[in-house]
């Protein structure tokens, strides 16, 4: 558990007099920490600057609480939407002046209305959600020994992980870990992944490595960091299998493997 990550993609912070403003911003907040967002000014500092004129100087704030986060809406007129991008339209409306609305999503997109057609939005990840071990179901959990790296088995990142682990789980132990295009192809038949792009798969893999499993960071002074990066997916697969985060039973989450597809995948190497 290490808090939440707020990510403002490049060029998403709104238009300031027609000029697209700002680089991508990533904030990492620990439990109890607060990040304010809005247009900001010299007297009203904000950690996350959104340049759209329709947005207040201080539009709202995010506070990390336990394993989730709360959203306070400082606007007196506008509701904010918190969408779950993986929730098939699931969203939360935070009305004006609401203080500390708890957000239950691991992935969330906060959408602020603007005068133009393009709303301003940023993402908040809460990777600390805890899931019970399947064997521990039914027992009082507070005092139990639990797996410290728990994964949401309904999330897209988990599907990506299962797809990464699939060849090894099917005992094709000598085959390499699938590449990103192979993952895209493998998950294409899945209802939730029909529009999954290679870039999204890479993001999910990064999220798994950095936020969920927190794969041991290499020494920044160590040369050959590029080589290390290439080993990331192998490392994810190794850890997920070794510590039982992905198991044979999870293969049923993947779309059925067509005979031809399977052979093709194997002979492709």
């Amino acid at each position: 558990m290490s808090g939440v990550v707020v990510h403002l993609p490049q060029g998403c912070s709104g238009a300031d007099g027609g000029e697209p403003y700002g680089d991508a911003v990533t904030l990492r907040l620990g439990p109890g920490e607060v990040a304010r967002f809005g247009r900001g000014s010299a007297t009203i500092p904000v950690e996350l600057r959104l340049a759209d004129v329709a947005i207040s100087r201080l539009a709202g704030e995010i506070r990390v609480t336990d394993d989730h986060w709360q959203l306070t809406n400082h606007s007196t007129t506008h509701s904010y939407l918190v969408e779950n991008p993986e929730g098939a339209g699931e969203y939360l409306r935070v009305p004006p002046r609401r203080v500390g609305a708890p957000v239950p999503f691991e992935f969330a997109r906060v959408v602020l209305p603007t005068r133009s057609d393009v709303p301003v939005s940023f993402q908040v990840f809460a990777p600390d959600h805890i899931y019970l071990d399947p064997e521990a179901m039914g027992a009082p959990w507070g005092r139990l020994t639990v797996t410290a790296y728990s994964l949401d088995e309904t999330a897209t990142y988990f599907l990506v992980l299962v797809a990464l682990c699939e060849p090894r789980l099917r005992d094709q132990s000598r085959v390499a870990v699938p590449t990103t295009p192979q993952i895209v192809e493998r998950l294409q038949g899945h209802a939730a992944c029909a529009t999954l792009t290679a870039r999204a798969v890479s993001s999910h893999i990064d999220y798994l490595a950095e936020e969920k499993l927190r794969i041991g960071a290499s020494d920044p002074r160590e040369p050959g960091k590029g080589d290390r990066r290439n080993g990331k997916r192998e490392e994810i697969v190794g850890l997920a299998l070794r510590f039982g985060l992905v198991r044979e039973e999870h293969l049923t989450l993947l779309p059925p493997l067509t005979g031809a597809g399977g052979r093709e995948r194997q002979t492709a190497r």
């Binding site: 039914g138 027992a139 507070g142 020994t145 410290a148 794969i215 190794g238």
Partner: protein, 479 residues
Amino acid sequence: MTTPHALRDITERDGTDLLLPGHRVQGWMITNLIGAGGWSTVYAARPANKYPDRTGRPPAHPAAAPADVALKIMPTAGYAPRQTRRIVESARREVELGRRAGHARLIRLLDSFVLEAPDRPALDGAIVLVMERAAGSLRELLDAGVAEADRARLIAGICEGLAHLHRSGWVHADLKPENVLLDGDRSVKLSDFGLATEMTGTYGYAPPMGTLDYLPPERWRAPLGELGVKVRPSADIWALGIIIHEVFGSGASPFSGATPMARGAAVQEYGEGRAPLRMDQAVPPFWRALAADCLAPTHAARARHTAESLLARITAELEARGRGTGRLWGRARAAILTTALCGIAGTTLWSDAARANSSALDGLQGATAGTIRVFNAEKGCQERADRDPQCSLGLAIDPTRQYTADNVVPSRVWHGDVLAVDCQVPDGRAIIDEADLQSTRWFHVRLPPGSTPPTAWLPAVRTKDRPALRGCPHPATGR
């Protein structure tokens, strides 16, 4: 409270896994269910016949077959091969530790075997650990209320067990009241070594598991490596600090929150220095100080408080109160005498005084006239607040003499310390720091009360502050 819940829940979950009283497991007969965890079920049992050995022969060590035992049964059926491996791994750790590090303060492992039960597929192939039977756990005692007279003895017992484990090169890695078992006479026996890890050097690797309320701050951000997560004895010391607070503070964790997640968040806020440690004032001062040392926010700050040094302090405290003459203390005293002499208490004196001093002045922005803030040019030392000896800086006795070992006072200072300063000399020995800054200026600083000598000289390269100060009388005439 745990046991009845566990009992009901697993009964509802899957009655077929449960063994009823009277059932025979190899040479043992189940008498009742003790409890169930995620991977295992523990039963009380006694020998089904005179010699419970499978061979029917008398056991090699008659003392190793007491009347009552606990059977820890870890089913492997119905699990995927990789999960089974995890269970086998956990059992292997217990057996290995039991074989190599037995001690009066650790639950004894009497035997282990694989159950052959073709008539009960759910149990066929289960791993069975036969262990010494305890009367109860510290959790049950905490729920019922720990008698005041028992508290110190319980903590000393846990310390003895930990001291032995750590000395033998093991880390428990899942210390909590559930795993502190108690004998009929309420003597402590540590148990559940499913995550226990043998160290290579100063650390080992444990499976990525733990109990939320007892995880040290560094574990919440610990990276997962090929071998698991890094664990060090200081993780057990943290858990001990929580237990001390629970035992002396009516069962409550020092970290507030309604759920383990909320308390985990509080642990992290404290670990990152954003919240102070707030202990129950009902905890007596000696135990509060002891728990505070166990709960030092970083591994490095905690590392100097070993189970042995803590045990030495407890023993000394109890003796000072004239209550430490029982048989327990006679034995403990002999065991810890050497460590007490290692000067652990002595070396902490100054750093504690310095900490009290600097925290009192921490509110000051920068340094006001009359104080300077110590600066360490080593980048790695600037972010650390744990007073690692490698990050300490020296002070000179005489700024005009060569700055060598015999010209350095015993007291050390660290980056960020605020020192009172009364005067300066512009023309002492030239000092060059790690960033190649050079200066001949020296500040005459006052050390915390009790330091000998009471003042010393700090080279100007060790601070960024340049307060307007009068010149000192020539130091050769000073101290």
